[in-house]
Amino acid sequence: MKAGKLTKVEKGLAYAVLLLFTAFSLYPILVVFSISIRPGDRLLSKSLALIPPDATFQAYVDLFTKEPFIRWLSNSLIVSALVTVFAVSLAATAGYAFSRYKFKGRDSSMVALITTQMFPVTMLLLPLFIMLISIGAYDSYIGLIIAYTATALPFTIWQMKGYYDTIPFSLEEAATIDGAGPFTTFYKIILPLALPALAITALFSFMTAWSEYLVAAVLIQDQSLFTLPMGLKLFSSNMEVAWGLYSAGAVVVSIPVVILFLSLSRWLISGLTLGSVKG
Protein backbone atom coordinates (compact mmCIF):
# COMPACT_ATOMS: atom_id res chain seq x y z
CA MET A 1 0.00 0.00 0.00
CA LYS A 2 1.32 3.41 -0.88
CA ALA A 3 1.05 6.08 1.75
CA GLY A 4 -1.16 8.87 0.52
CA LYS A 5 -0.12 12.48 0.86
CA LEU A 6 -0.20 13.62 4.47
CA THR A 7 -1.99 16.78 5.44
CA LYS A 8 -0.01 19.44 7.28
CA VAL A 9 -1.61 18.50 10.58
CA GLU A 10 -0.80 14.82 10.12
CA LYS A 11 2.74 15.65 9.16
CA GLY A 12 3.08 17.87 12.22
CA LEU A 13 1.75 15.12 14.47
CA ALA A 14 4.10 12.56 12.96
CA TYR A 15 7.07 14.82 13.56
CA ALA A 16 5.92 15.53 17.11
CA VAL A 17 5.81 11.81 17.91
CA LEU A 18 9.20 11.26 16.27
CA LEU A 19 10.73 14.14 18.20
CA LEU A 20 9.27 12.84 21.46
CA PHE A 21 10.86 9.42 21.01
CA THR A 22 14.13 10.93 19.87
CA ALA A 23 14.14 13.02 23.02
CA PHE A 24 13.45 9.92 25.11
CA SER A 25 16.47 8.14 23.70
CA LEU A 26 18.76 11.15 23.60
CA TYR A 27 18.00 12.56 27.08
CA PRO A 28 19.91 9.96 29.16
CA ILE A 29 22.94 10.25 26.91
CA LEU A 30 22.94 14.03 27.24
CA VAL A 31 22.52 13.81 31.01
CA VAL A 32 25.43 11.38 31.31
CA PHE A 33 27.55 13.70 29.21
CA SER A 34 26.43 16.66 31.26
CA ILE A 35 27.35 14.96 34.53
CA SER A 36 30.74 13.97 33.17
CA ILE A 37 31.73 17.60 32.67
CA ARG A 38 30.45 18.92 35.99
CA PRO A 39 32.87 19.71 38.78
CA GLY A 40 32.74 16.98 41.46
CA ASP A 41 30.83 19.08 44.04
CA ARG A 42 27.94 19.97 41.72
CA LEU A 43 26.67 16.49 40.99
CA LEU A 44 23.15 16.95 42.32
CA SER A 45 22.75 20.43 40.91
CA LYS A 46 19.16 21.27 40.01
CA SER A 47 20.27 23.41 37.09
CA LEU A 48 18.80 22.31 33.78
CA ALA A 49 21.74 23.62 31.78
CA LEU A 50 23.31 20.78 29.83
CA ILE A 51 26.68 22.49 29.89
CA PRO A 52 27.29 23.94 33.35
CA PRO A 53 28.94 27.35 33.47
CA ASP A 54 32.02 25.91 35.20
CA ALA A 55 32.32 22.88 32.90
CA THR A 56 35.50 20.89 33.19
CA PHE A 57 37.03 17.90 31.50
CA GLN A 58 38.84 16.98 34.72
CA ALA A 59 36.93 13.67 35.01
CA TYR A 60 38.20 12.62 31.58
CA VAL A 61 41.76 13.56 32.47
CA ASP A 62 41.51 11.66 35.75
CA LEU A 63 40.05 8.68 33.94
CA PHE A 64 43.12 8.30 31.77
CA THR A 65 45.76 9.42 34.30
CA LYS A 66 44.65 8.39 37.78
CA GLU A 67 42.66 5.25 36.98
CA PRO A 68 43.63 2.06 35.11
CA PHE A 69 41.14 3.03 32.43
CA ILE A 70 43.54 2.44 29.52
CA ARG A 71 44.16 -1.04 30.83
CA TRP A 72 40.41 -1.83 30.86
CA LEU A 73 40.00 -0.25 27.45
CA SER A 74 42.70 -2.40 25.92
CA ASN A 75 41.33 -5.52 27.67
CA SER A 76 37.91 -4.83 26.21
CA LEU A 77 39.34 -4.09 22.77
CA ILE A 78 41.37 -7.30 22.73
CA VAL A 79 38.50 -9.47 23.91
CA SER A 80 35.90 -7.84 21.66
CA ALA A 81 38.16 -7.91 18.60
CA LEU A 82 39.01 -11.57 19.05
CA VAL A 83 35.36 -12.48 19.72
CA THR A 84 34.46 -10.64 16.51
CA VAL A 85 37.12 -12.47 14.51
CA PHE A 86 36.15 -15.89 15.85
CA ALA A 87 32.40 -15.39 15.68
CA VAL A 88 32.50 -13.96 12.15
CA SER A 89 34.74 -16.67 10.76
CA LEU A 90 32.87 -19.48 12.46
CA ALA A 91 29.42 -18.10 11.62
CA ALA A 92 30.45 -17.40 8.01
CA THR A 93 31.61 -20.97 7.46
CA ALA A 94 29.01 -22.78 9.59
CA GLY A 95 26.18 -20.73 8.07
CA TYR A 96 27.42 -21.67 4.60
CA ALA A 97 27.47 -25.36 5.46
CA PHE A 98 23.94 -25.13 6.89
CA SER A 99 22.73 -23.26 3.83
CA ARG A 100 24.32 -25.34 1.10
CA TYR A 101 25.13 -28.84 2.22
CA LYS A 102 22.86 -31.67 3.16
CA PHE A 103 24.18 -33.75 6.04
CA LYS A 104 22.86 -35.89 8.84
CA GLY A 105 21.58 -33.86 11.76
CA ARG A 106 21.48 -30.62 9.81
CA ASP A 107 17.94 -29.64 10.70
CA SER A 108 18.17 -30.79 14.31
CA SER A 109 21.42 -28.85 14.75
CA MET A 110 19.72 -25.72 13.48
CA VAL A 111 16.92 -26.20 15.99
CA ALA A 112 19.41 -26.93 18.76
CA LEU A 113 21.20 -23.67 18.01
CA ILE A 114 18.04 -21.65 18.30
CA THR A 115 17.04 -23.54 21.45
CA THR A 116 20.12 -22.27 23.28
CA GLN A 117 18.74 -18.76 22.83
CA MET A 118 15.73 -19.59 24.98
CA PHE A 119 17.76 -19.70 28.19
CA PRO A 120 18.82 -16.50 29.93
CA VAL A 121 22.53 -16.02 30.44
CA THR A 122 22.13 -16.14 34.22
CA MET A 123 20.98 -19.72 33.92
CA LEU A 124 24.05 -20.66 31.96
CA LEU A 125 26.51 -18.91 34.25
CA LEU A 126 27.14 -21.80 36.62
CA PRO A 127 27.68 -24.51 33.97
CA LEU A 128 29.86 -22.07 32.03
CA PHE A 129 31.86 -21.35 35.16
CA ILE A 130 32.38 -25.09 35.88
CA MET A 131 33.27 -25.84 32.28
CA LEU A 132 35.86 -23.08 32.02
CA ILE A 133 37.45 -24.10 35.34
CA SER A 134 37.77 -27.68 34.16
CA ILE A 135 39.59 -26.64 30.99
CA GLY A 136 41.74 -24.18 32.93
CA ALA A 137 40.33 -21.12 31.19
CA TYR A 138 38.87 -19.48 34.28
CA ASP A 139 40.03 -15.94 35.03
CA SER A 140 41.64 -15.44 31.63
CA TYR A 141 41.00 -13.77 28.29
CA ILE A 142 40.51 -17.17 26.70
CA GLY A 143 37.64 -18.07 29.00
CA LEU A 144 35.92 -14.80 28.34
CA ILE A 145 36.44 -15.09 24.59
CA ILE A 146 35.05 -18.63 24.55
CA ALA A 147 32.01 -17.58 26.57
CA TYR A 148 31.25 -14.55 24.39
CA THR A 149 31.85 -16.34 21.11
CA ALA A 150 29.56 -19.15 22.21
CA THR A 151 26.89 -16.60 23.15
CA ALA A 152 27.13 -14.79 19.84
CA LEU A 153 27.32 -17.82 17.54
CA PRO A 154 23.77 -19.22 17.45
CA PHE A 155 22.27 -15.93 16.31
CA THR A 156 25.08 -15.13 13.90
CA ILE A 157 25.04 -18.59 12.31
CA TRP A 158 21.31 -18.24 11.65
CA GLN A 159 21.89 -14.75 10.36
CA MET A 160 24.57 -15.90 7.91
CA LYS A 161 22.61 -18.96 6.83
CA GLY A 162 19.60 -16.79 6.09
CA TYR A 163 21.69 -14.50 3.95
CA TYR A 164 23.39 -17.30 2.01
CA ASP A 165 19.95 -18.75 1.29
CA THR A 166 19.18 -15.67 -0.77
CA ILE A 167 22.26 -16.09 -3.00
CA PRO A 168 21.26 -18.16 -6.04
CA PHE A 169 22.84 -21.58 -6.41
CA SER A 170 23.61 -20.96 -10.04
CA LEU A 171 26.41 -18.54 -9.09
CA GLU A 172 28.27 -21.39 -7.42
CA GLU A 173 27.50 -23.70 -10.31
CA ALA A 174 28.82 -21.12 -12.77
CA ALA A 175 31.97 -20.81 -10.66
CA THR A 176 32.33 -24.60 -10.54
CA ILE A 177 32.16 -24.78 -14.32
CA ASP A 178 34.57 -21.84 -14.55
CA GLY A 179 37.00 -24.05 -12.67
CA ALA A 180 36.71 -22.90 -9.06
CA GLY A 181 36.89 -25.45 -6.25
CA PRO A 182 34.55 -25.22 -3.25
CA PHE A 183 36.94 -23.04 -1.24
CA THR A 184 37.67 -20.62 -4.09
CA THR A 185 33.96 -20.36 -4.81
CA PHE A 186 33.26 -19.54 -1.17
CA TYR A 187 36.10 -17.08 -0.87
CA LYS A 188 35.84 -15.30 -4.21
CA ILE A 189 32.13 -15.42 -5.00
CA ILE A 190 30.04 -16.03 -1.90
CA LEU A 191 31.90 -14.06 0.79
CA PRO A 192 32.12 -10.80 -1.19
CA LEU A 193 28.40 -11.06 -1.85
CA ALA A 194 27.70 -11.69 1.83
CA LEU A 195 29.44 -8.51 3.02
CA PRO A 196 26.26 -6.91 4.41
CA ALA A 197 25.56 -10.00 6.49
CA LEU A 198 29.19 -10.17 7.60
CA ALA A 199 28.96 -6.54 8.73
CA ILE A 200 25.90 -7.22 10.87
CA THR A 201 27.50 -10.37 12.26
CA ALA A 202 30.67 -8.45 13.13
CA LEU A 203 28.76 -5.65 14.81
CA PHE A 204 26.60 -8.05 16.79
CA SER A 205 29.61 -10.08 17.94
CA PHE A 206 31.54 -6.96 18.93
CA MET A 207 28.61 -5.61 20.93
CA THR A 208 28.10 -8.96 22.65
CA ALA A 209 31.57 -8.67 24.12
CA TRP A 210 31.96 -4.91 24.45
CA SER A 211 29.12 -4.05 26.78
CA GLU A 212 28.77 -7.31 28.68
CA TYR A 213 29.05 -7.22 32.48
CA LEU A 214 27.45 -10.25 34.12
CA VAL A 215 29.49 -13.05 32.58
CA ALA A 216 32.69 -11.07 32.92
CA ALA A 217 31.97 -10.42 36.60
CA VAL A 218 31.68 -14.15 37.26
CA LEU A 219 34.60 -15.31 35.12
CA ILE A 220 37.20 -12.63 35.87
CA GLN A 221 38.74 -12.06 39.31
CA ASP A 222 42.09 -10.59 38.38
CA GLN A 223 41.70 -6.77 38.32
CA SER A 224 44.30 -6.45 35.57
CA LEU A 225 42.01 -8.44 33.28
CA PHE A 226 38.92 -6.29 33.93
CA THR A 227 36.96 -5.15 30.90
CA LEU A 228 35.39 -1.70 30.64
CA PRO A 229 31.95 -2.51 32.11
CA MET A 230 33.63 -4.14 35.11
CA GLY A 231 35.97 -1.19 35.50
CA LEU A 232 33.10 1.26 35.45
CA LYS A 233 31.37 -0.73 38.14
CA LEU A 234 34.47 -0.33 40.33
CA PHE A 235 33.75 3.41 40.54
CA SER A 236 30.58 2.64 42.43
CA SER A 237 31.79 -0.20 44.55
CA ASN A 238 33.23 1.90 47.38
CA MET A 239 31.24 3.83 49.91
CA GLU A 240 30.68 6.70 47.53
CA VAL A 241 30.04 6.65 43.83
CA ALA A 242 32.47 8.56 41.62
CA TRP A 243 29.74 9.76 39.28
CA GLY A 244 31.97 12.11 37.33
CA LEU A 245 34.44 9.34 36.49
CA TYR A 246 31.60 6.91 35.91
CA SER A 247 29.88 9.18 33.40
CA ALA A 248 33.09 10.11 31.63
CA GLY A 249 33.89 6.39 31.33
CA ALA A 250 30.42 5.66 29.97
CA VAL A 251 30.80 8.34 27.31
CA VAL A 252 34.20 7.01 26.23
CA VAL A 253 32.89 3.41 26.16
CA SER A 254 30.13 4.33 23.76
CA ILE A 255 32.44 6.07 21.27
CA PRO A 256 33.79 2.93 19.53
CA VAL A 257 30.26 1.56 19.16
CA VAL A 258 29.07 4.79 17.57
CA ILE A 259 32.04 4.77 15.20
CA LEU A 260 31.35 1.14 14.28
CA PHE A 261 27.68 1.82 13.62
CA LEU A 262 28.43 4.83 11.46
CA SER A 263 31.12 3.12 9.43
CA LEU A 264 29.01 0.02 8.88
CA SER A 265 25.75 1.87 8.32
CA ARG A 266 25.95 1.48 4.55
CA TRP A 267 26.13 -2.28 4.94
CA LEU A 268 23.64 -2.37 7.78
CA ILE A 269 20.93 -0.69 5.77
CA SER A 270 21.46 -2.90 2.74
CA GLY A 271 21.70 -5.94 5.02
CA LEU A 272 18.52 -5.20 6.92
CA THR A 273 16.44 -4.47 3.84
CA LEU A 274 17.75 -7.56 2.19
CA GLY A 275 15.58 -9.46 -0.20
CA SER A 276 13.31 -6.51 -0.78
CA VAL A 277 14.89 -5.84 -4.13
CA LYS A 278 15.76 -8.49 -6.64
CA GLY A 279 18.74 -7.87 -8.55
Binding site: E173, I177, D178, P192, G279
Partner: protein
Protein backbone atom coordinates in the same frame (compact mmCIF):
# COMPACT_ATOMS: atom_id res chain seq x y z
CA UNK B 1 36.68 -33.40 -32.04
CA UNK B 2 33.86 -33.00 -29.53
CA UNK B 3 31.16 -35.52 -30.14
CA UNK B 4 29.14 -36.72 -27.17
CA UNK B 5 27.97 -40.20 -26.49
CA UNK B 6 25.21 -40.88 -23.96
CA UNK B 7 24.56 -44.54 -23.25
CA UNK B 8 21.71 -45.75 -21.02
CA UNK B 9 21.83 -42.61 -18.92
CA UNK B 10 19.58 -42.61 -15.85
CA UNK B 11 18.99 -40.13 -13.08
CA UNK B 12 17.22 -41.30 -9.95
CA UNK B 13 16.75 -38.92 -7.00
CA UNK B 14 16.53 -40.41 -3.50
CA UNK B 15 15.75 -43.88 -4.91
CA UNK B 16 12.28 -42.68 -5.81
CA UNK B 17 12.12 -40.01 -8.51
CA UNK B 18 13.25 -41.34 -11.88
CA UNK B 19 13.98 -38.03 -13.62
CA UNK B 20 15.87 -39.29 -16.67
CA UNK B 21 15.26 -42.76 -18.06
CA UNK B 22 17.60 -44.82 -20.24
CA UNK B 23 18.68 -41.99 -22.51
CA UNK B 24 20.74 -43.02 -25.53
CA UNK B 25 22.03 -40.20 -27.70
CA UNK B 26 24.91 -39.57 -30.05
CA UNK B 27 25.66 -35.91 -30.45
CA UNK B 28 27.85 -35.12 -33.41
CA UNK B 29 30.82 -32.79 -33.48
CA UNK B 30 29.71 -29.21 -34.27
CA UNK B 31 26.06 -30.18 -33.96
CA UNK B 32 23.46 -27.79 -32.52
CA UNK B 33 21.26 -30.12 -30.51
CA UNK B 34 18.13 -28.87 -28.78
CA UNK B 35 16.53 -30.66 -25.84
CA UNK B 36 12.89 -29.70 -25.66
CA UNK B 37 9.88 -30.76 -23.62
CA UNK B 38 7.40 -29.55 -21.02
CA UNK B 39 8.67 -28.60 -17.57
CA UNK B 40 9.66 -31.60 -15.48
CA UNK B 41 10.49 -33.72 -18.53
CA UNK B 42 14.12 -34.18 -17.49
CA UNK B 43 15.75 -32.01 -20.14
CA UNK B 44 17.50 -29.69 -17.69
CA UNK B 45 18.57 -32.61 -15.52
CA UNK B 46 20.12 -34.26 -18.56
CA UNK B 47 21.97 -31.06 -19.46
CA UNK B 48 23.20 -30.69 -15.87
CA UNK B 49 24.47 -34.26 -15.97
CA UNK B 50 26.44 -33.41 -19.10
CA UNK B 51 27.81 -30.36 -17.27
CA UNK B 52 28.73 -32.46 -14.25
CA UNK B 53 26.46 -30.52 -11.89
CA UNK B 54 24.35 -33.64 -11.31
CA UNK B 55 25.70 -37.11 -10.75
CA UNK B 56 24.84 -39.79 -13.28
CA UNK B 57 22.91 -42.56 -11.51
CA UNK B 58 23.78 -45.13 -14.14
CA UNK B 59 24.98 -45.25 -17.73
CA UNK B 60 28.04 -44.02 -19.58
CA UNK B 61 28.77 -40.53 -20.84
CA UNK B 62 31.62 -39.74 -23.19
CA UNK B 63 33.02 -36.54 -24.66
CA UNK B 64 35.09 -37.65 -27.63
CA UNK B 65 36.48 -40.98 -26.55
CA UNK B 66 36.84 -40.08 -22.91
CA UNK B 67 34.38 -41.35 -20.33
CA UNK B 68 33.43 -38.36 -18.18
CA UNK B 69 31.07 -39.89 -15.62
CA UNK B 70 33.46 -39.14 -12.77
CA UNK B 71 35.29 -36.16 -14.27
CA UNK B 72 34.70 -32.92 -12.37
CA UNK B 73 32.86 -30.13 -14.25
CA UNK B 74 35.97 -27.97 -14.59
CA UNK B 75 37.87 -30.77 -16.33
CA UNK B 76 35.12 -31.60 -18.82
CA UNK B 77 36.02 -28.71 -21.10
CA UNK B 78 32.47 -27.40 -21.24
CA UNK B 79 30.94 -23.99 -20.70
CA UNK B 80 27.41 -23.29 -19.61
CA UNK B 81 25.00 -20.38 -19.96
CA UNK B 82 22.36 -20.27 -17.25
CA UNK B 83 18.74 -19.18 -17.35
CA UNK B 84 19.30 -16.40 -14.80
CA UNK B 85 22.70 -15.57 -16.40
CA UNK B 86 24.48 -16.32 -13.07
CA UNK B 87 26.83 -13.36 -13.51
CA UNK B 88 28.98 -12.58 -10.49
CA UNK B 89 27.29 -9.39 -9.20
CA UNK B 90 30.39 -7.98 -7.48
CA UNK B 91 32.60 -8.25 -10.57
CA UNK B 92 32.74 -6.07 -13.66
CA UNK B 93 31.88 -7.44 -17.09
CA UNK B 94 35.59 -7.86 -17.75
CA UNK B 95 36.18 -9.70 -14.47
CA UNK B 96 33.17 -11.90 -15.08
CA UNK B 97 34.55 -13.01 -18.42
CA UNK B 98 38.13 -13.33 -17.20
CA UNK B 99 37.32 -15.27 -14.02
CA UNK B 100 37.45 -18.74 -15.57
CA UNK B 101 40.63 -17.97 -17.46
CA UNK B 102 42.42 -16.55 -14.43
CA UNK B 103 41.52 -19.63 -12.41
CA UNK B 104 43.08 -21.74 -15.12
CA UNK B 105 46.30 -19.80 -14.70
CA UNK B 106 46.25 -18.41 -18.22
CA UNK B 107 48.74 -15.57 -18.68
CA UNK B 108 47.35 -12.05 -18.31
CA UNK B 109 48.03 -10.76 -21.84
CA UNK B 110 46.30 -13.80 -23.24
CA UNK B 111 43.31 -13.37 -20.92
CA UNK B 112 43.08 -9.77 -22.01
CA UNK B 113 43.24 -10.69 -25.66
CA UNK B 114 40.50 -13.31 -25.37
CA UNK B 115 38.19 -11.10 -23.36
CA UNK B 116 38.63 -8.21 -25.81
CA UNK B 117 38.00 -10.53 -28.72
CA UNK B 118 34.80 -11.94 -27.20
CA UNK B 119 33.66 -8.47 -26.15
CA UNK B 120 34.06 -7.25 -29.70
CA UNK B 121 32.17 -10.22 -31.10
CA UNK B 122 29.29 -9.60 -28.69
CA UNK B 123 29.42 -5.79 -28.85
CA UNK B 124 30.34 -5.50 -25.21
CA UNK B 125 33.58 -3.53 -25.63
CA UNK B 126 32.10 -0.34 -24.15
CA UNK B 127 30.61 -2.12 -21.16
CA UNK B 128 33.66 -3.94 -19.81
CA UNK B 129 33.94 -1.75 -16.70
CA UNK B 130 30.30 -2.01 -15.73
CA UNK B 131 28.79 -4.22 -13.09
CA UNK B 132 26.00 -6.62 -14.10
CA UNK B 133 23.32 -4.58 -12.32
CA UNK B 134 24.05 -1.65 -14.65
CA UNK B 135 23.24 -3.74 -17.72
CA UNK B 136 19.98 -4.53 -19.50
CA UNK B 137 18.69 -8.10 -19.73
CA UNK B 138 20.01 -8.54 -23.25
CA UNK B 139 23.43 -7.20 -22.32
CA UNK B 140 23.62 -9.51 -19.31
CA UNK B 141 22.78 -12.43 -21.53
CA UNK B 142 25.59 -11.42 -23.89
CA UNK B 143 28.02 -11.24 -20.98
CA UNK B 144 26.97 -14.76 -20.00
CA UNK B 145 27.66 -15.84 -23.58
CA UNK B 146 31.00 -14.04 -23.49
CA UNK B 147 32.01 -15.80 -20.30
CA UNK B 148 31.39 -19.09 -22.08
CA UNK B 149 33.12 -18.10 -25.32
CA UNK B 150 36.42 -16.91 -23.81
CA UNK B 151 37.02 -20.36 -22.40
CA UNK B 152 36.99 -21.90 -25.90
CA UNK B 153 35.30 -25.05 -24.62
CA UNK B 154 34.64 -28.21 -26.59
CA UNK B 155 30.95 -28.11 -25.81
CA UNK B 156 28.58 -25.22 -25.02
CA UNK B 157 25.61 -25.92 -22.81
CA UNK B 158 22.61 -23.58 -22.69
CA UNK B 159 19.94 -23.92 -20.02
CA UNK B 160 16.90 -21.95 -21.23
CA UNK B 161 19.08 -18.89 -21.77
CA UNK B 162 16.41 -16.72 -23.38
CA UNK B 163 13.42 -17.32 -21.18
CA UNK B 164 14.01 -14.21 -19.04
CA UNK B 165 14.03 -11.90 -22.06
CA UNK B 166 11.07 -10.17 -23.68
CA UNK B 167 9.71 -11.57 -26.94
CA UNK B 168 11.50 -9.17 -29.29
CA UNK B 169 14.89 -9.58 -27.62
CA UNK B 170 14.42 -13.34 -27.57
CA UNK B 171 14.10 -13.46 -31.35
CA UNK B 172 17.18 -11.27 -31.71
CA UNK B 173 19.31 -13.35 -29.30
CA UNK B 174 18.11 -16.52 -30.97
CA UNK B 175 19.67 -15.29 -34.20
CA UNK B 176 22.85 -14.19 -32.43
CA UNK B 177 23.33 -17.60 -30.86
CA UNK B 178 22.81 -19.28 -34.22
CA UNK B 179 25.33 -16.95 -35.83
CA UNK B 180 27.72 -17.69 -33.00
CA UNK B 181 27.36 -21.40 -33.60
CA UNK B 182 28.06 -20.92 -37.26
CA UNK B 183 31.13 -18.86 -36.48
CA UNK B 184 32.59 -20.93 -33.66
CA UNK B 185 31.79 -24.33 -35.18
CA UNK B 186 31.49 -25.91 -31.74
CA UNK B 187 29.10 -28.51 -30.41
CA UNK B 188 26.18 -26.83 -28.66
CA UNK B 189 23.47 -28.38 -26.54
CA UNK B 190 20.51 -26.15 -25.87
CA UNK B 191 17.63 -26.72 -23.48
CA UNK B 192 14.30 -24.96 -23.98
CA UNK B 193 10.61 -25.53 -23.36
CA UNK B 194 9.73 -23.34 -26.32
CA UNK B 195 9.09 -25.39 -29.43
CA UNK B 196 9.54 -22.39 -31.72
CA UNK B 197 13.02 -21.85 -30.29
CA UNK B 198 13.73 -25.55 -30.73
CA UNK B 199 12.53 -25.66 -34.32
CA UNK B 200 14.35 -22.51 -35.41
CA UNK B 201 17.67 -23.23 -33.73
CA UNK B 202 18.33 -26.95 -33.73
CA UNK B 203 20.14 -29.02 -36.30
CA UNK B 204 18.47 -31.81 -34.44
CA UNK B 205 15.80 -31.77 -31.75
CA UNK B 206 15.33 -34.22 -28.92
CA UNK B 207 11.77 -34.18 -27.62
CA UNK B 208 11.49 -35.45 -24.04
CA UNK B 209 8.59 -36.31 -21.78
CA UNK B 210 8.56 -37.85 -18.29
CA UNK B 211 12.31 -38.48 -18.44
CA UNK B 212 12.10 -40.41 -21.68
CA UNK B 213 13.39 -39.39 -25.09
CA UNK B 214 10.35 -39.46 -27.35
CA UNK B 215 12.03 -38.62 -30.65
CA UNK B 216 15.39 -37.27 -31.77
CA UNK B 217 15.19 -35.91 -35.26
CA UNK B 218 15.66 -32.95 -37.58
CA UNK B 219 13.09 -30.15 -37.17
CA UNK B 220 11.36 -30.88 -40.45
CA UNK B 221 11.17 -34.61 -39.93
CA UNK B 222 9.86 -34.06 -36.42
CA UNK B 223 7.14 -31.91 -37.92
CA UNK B 224 6.20 -34.22 -40.76
CA UNK B 225 6.66 -37.58 -39.06
CA UNK B 226 5.94 -37.26 -35.33
CA UNK B 227 6.57 -40.61 -33.72
CA UNK B 228 3.61 -40.39 -31.33
CA UNK B 229 0.69 -38.22 -30.29
CA UNK B 230 2.78 -36.30 -27.77
CA UNK B 231 5.41 -35.20 -30.29
CA UNK B 232 2.71 -34.39 -32.84
CA UNK B 233 0.93 -32.20 -30.32
CA UNK B 234 4.06 -30.60 -28.89
CA UNK B 235 5.63 -29.43 -32.14
CA UNK B 236 3.66 -26.85 -34.09
CA UNK B 237 1.49 -23.91 -33.10
CA UNK B 238 -1.48 -23.93 -32.88
CA UNK B 239 -1.19 -27.55 -31.81
CA UNK B 240 -2.18 -30.50 -33.96
CA UNK B 241 -5.88 -31.45 -33.86
CA UNK B 242 -6.69 -34.99 -32.78
CA UNK B 243 -9.83 -36.88 -33.75
CA UNK B 244 -10.77 -40.29 -32.46
CA UNK B 245 -12.62 -42.48 -34.94
CA UNK B 246 -12.65 -45.56 -37.10
CA UNK B 247 -11.31 -46.34 -40.59
CA UNK B 248 -14.05 -47.85 -42.69
CA UNK B 249 -14.53 -48.95 -46.25
CA UNK B 250 -18.04 -47.96 -47.35
CA UNK B 251 -18.04 -46.11 -50.70
CA UNK B 252 -14.26 -46.16 -50.55
CA UNK B 253 -11.90 -45.76 -47.61
CA UNK B 254 -12.90 -43.13 -45.09
CA UNK B 255 -12.24 -41.90 -41.55
CA UNK B 256 -15.47 -41.84 -39.58
CA UNK B 257 -15.96 -39.72 -36.48
CA UNK B 258 -19.33 -39.45 -34.73
CA UNK B 259 -19.57 -35.83 -35.97
CA UNK B 260 -18.09 -36.11 -39.47
CA UNK B 261 -16.30 -38.20 -42.04
CA UNK B 262 -13.26 -37.57 -44.21
CA UNK B 263 -12.64 -39.60 -47.38
CA UNK B 264 -9.17 -41.16 -47.59
CA UNK B 265 -7.14 -41.83 -50.71
CA UNK B 266 -7.11 -45.60 -50.92
CA UNK B 267 -3.92 -46.09 -52.85
CA UNK B 268 -2.09 -46.92 -49.66
CA UNK B 269 -1.94 -50.52 -48.54
CA UNK B 270 -0.94 -49.47 -45.06
CA UNK B 271 -4.20 -47.56 -44.65
CA UNK B 272 -6.19 -50.42 -46.09
CA UNK B 273 -4.65 -52.65 -43.46
CA UNK B 274 -6.16 -50.38 -40.80
CA UNK B 275 -9.68 -51.01 -42.03
CA UNK B 276 -12.27 -51.31 -39.24
CA UNK B 277 -9.76 -50.22 -36.66
CA UNK B 278 -10.21 -47.49 -34.10
CA UNK B 279 -7.48 -44.89 -34.60
CA UNK B 280 -6.46 -41.42 -33.54
CA UNK B 281 -6.23 -39.03 -36.48
CA UNK B 282 -3.92 -36.05 -36.22
CA UNK B 283 -4.29 -33.08 -38.58
CA UNK B 284 -2.30 -29.88 -38.24
CA UNK B 285 -4.37 -26.66 -38.29
CA UNK B 286 -2.54 -25.54 -41.45
CA UNK B 287 -3.49 -28.76 -43.26
CA UNK B 288 -7.23 -28.37 -42.83
CA UNK B 289 -8.64 -26.73 -45.95
CA UNK B 290 -11.83 -24.71 -46.36
CA UNK B 291 -13.89 -26.26 -49.12
CA UNK B 292 -16.37 -24.26 -51.23
CA UNK B 293 -18.31 -27.47 -51.94
CA UNK B 294 -20.22 -29.34 -49.24
CA UNK B 295 -18.17 -32.18 -47.71
CA UNK B 296 -18.79 -34.73 -44.96
CA UNK B 297 -16.94 -32.48 -42.52
CA UNK B 298 -18.96 -29.46 -41.42
CA UNK B 299 -18.11 -27.20 -38.52
CA UNK B 300 -19.26 -23.93 -36.94
CA UNK B 301 -16.95 -20.96 -36.56
CA UNK B 302 -16.54 -19.97 -32.91
CA UNK B 303 -13.58 -17.58 -32.65
CA UNK B 304 -11.53 -15.70 -35.25
CA UNK B 305 -7.91 -14.71 -34.56
CA UNK B 306 -6.52 -12.58 -37.40
CA UNK B 307 -2.72 -12.30 -37.32
CA UNK B 308 -2.31 -10.24 -40.46
CA UNK B 309 -0.44 -12.70 -42.62
CA UNK B 310 -2.79 -15.51 -41.65
CA UNK B 311 -5.91 -16.26 -39.67
CA UNK B 312 -6.57 -18.80 -36.94
CA UNK B 313 -10.12 -20.09 -36.97
CA UNK B 314 -11.43 -21.93 -33.93
CA UNK B 315 -14.19 -24.29 -34.94
CA UNK B 316 -16.60 -26.66 -33.25
CA UNK B 317 -18.76 -29.60 -34.14
CA UNK B 318 -21.25 -31.24 -31.83
CA UNK B 319 -18.63 -32.89 -29.60
CA UNK B 320 -15.35 -31.33 -30.69
CA UNK B 321 -13.36 -28.13 -30.78
CA UNK B 322 -10.35 -27.66 -33.04
CA UNK B 323 -8.31 -25.07 -34.92
CA UNK B 324 -7.65 -24.19 -38.53
CA UNK B 325 -4.93 -21.95 -39.88
CA UNK B 326 -5.31 -20.30 -43.23
CA UNK B 327 -3.57 -17.66 -45.25
CA UNK B 328 -6.72 -16.98 -47.28
CA UNK B 329 -7.64 -13.60 -45.94
CA UNK B 330 -11.39 -13.53 -46.58
CA UNK B 331 -14.13 -12.18 -44.35
CA UNK B 332 -15.37 -14.73 -41.83
CA UNK B 333 -18.38 -14.45 -39.57
CA UNK B 334 -18.78 -16.00 -36.18
CA UNK B 335 -21.42 -18.69 -36.25
CA UNK B 336 -21.04 -19.41 -39.96
CA UNK B 337 -20.81 -23.01 -41.12
CA UNK B 338 -17.67 -24.11 -42.90
CA UNK B 339 -17.02 -27.25 -44.93
CA UNK B 340 -13.59 -28.76 -44.43
CA UNK B 341 -11.28 -31.08 -46.28
CA UNK B 342 -7.83 -32.54 -45.79
CA UNK B 343 -5.42 -34.43 -48.01
CA UNK B 344 -4.56 -37.93 -46.91
CA UNK B 345 -0.81 -37.26 -47.15
CA UNK B 346 -1.16 -34.61 -44.44
CA UNK B 347 -2.87 -36.96 -42.01
CA UNK B 348 -1.15 -38.67 -39.11
CA UNK B 349 -2.62 -41.88 -37.74
CA UNK B 350 -1.84 -43.00 -34.21
CA UNK B 351 -2.74 -46.13 -32.30
CA UNK B 352 -5.59 -45.30 -29.96
CA UNK B 353 -4.14 -47.17 -26.98
CA UNK B 354 -0.38 -46.72 -27.30
CA UNK B 355 -0.70 -43.36 -29.11
CA UNK B 356 2.25 -44.37 -31.29
CA UNK B 357 2.35 -43.52 -34.97
CA UNK B 358 0.96 -46.18 -37.30
CA UNK B 359 0.88 -44.25 -40.53
Amino acid sequence: MASLELQNINKIYNDTVHAVKEVNLSILDKEFLVLVGPSGCGKSTLLRMIAGLEEISSGTMKIGNRIINDVSPKDRDIAMVFQNYALYPHMTVYENMAFGLTLRKIAKPQVDERVQEAAELLELSDLLDRKPKELSGGQRQRVALGRAIVRKPKVFLFDEPLSNLDAKLRVQMRLEIKKLHHRLQTTMIYVTHDQVEAMTMGDRIVVMKDGLVQQADTPLHLYSQPINRFVGGFIGSPAMNFFSGIIENLKGLQFTHSDFLIPLADNSNELKALENQNVLLGIRPEHLRISDKPTGFKATLEVIEPLGSEIYLHLKTETLRFALRTSVLTEFNIGQNIYLACDTENMHFFNKETENRIH
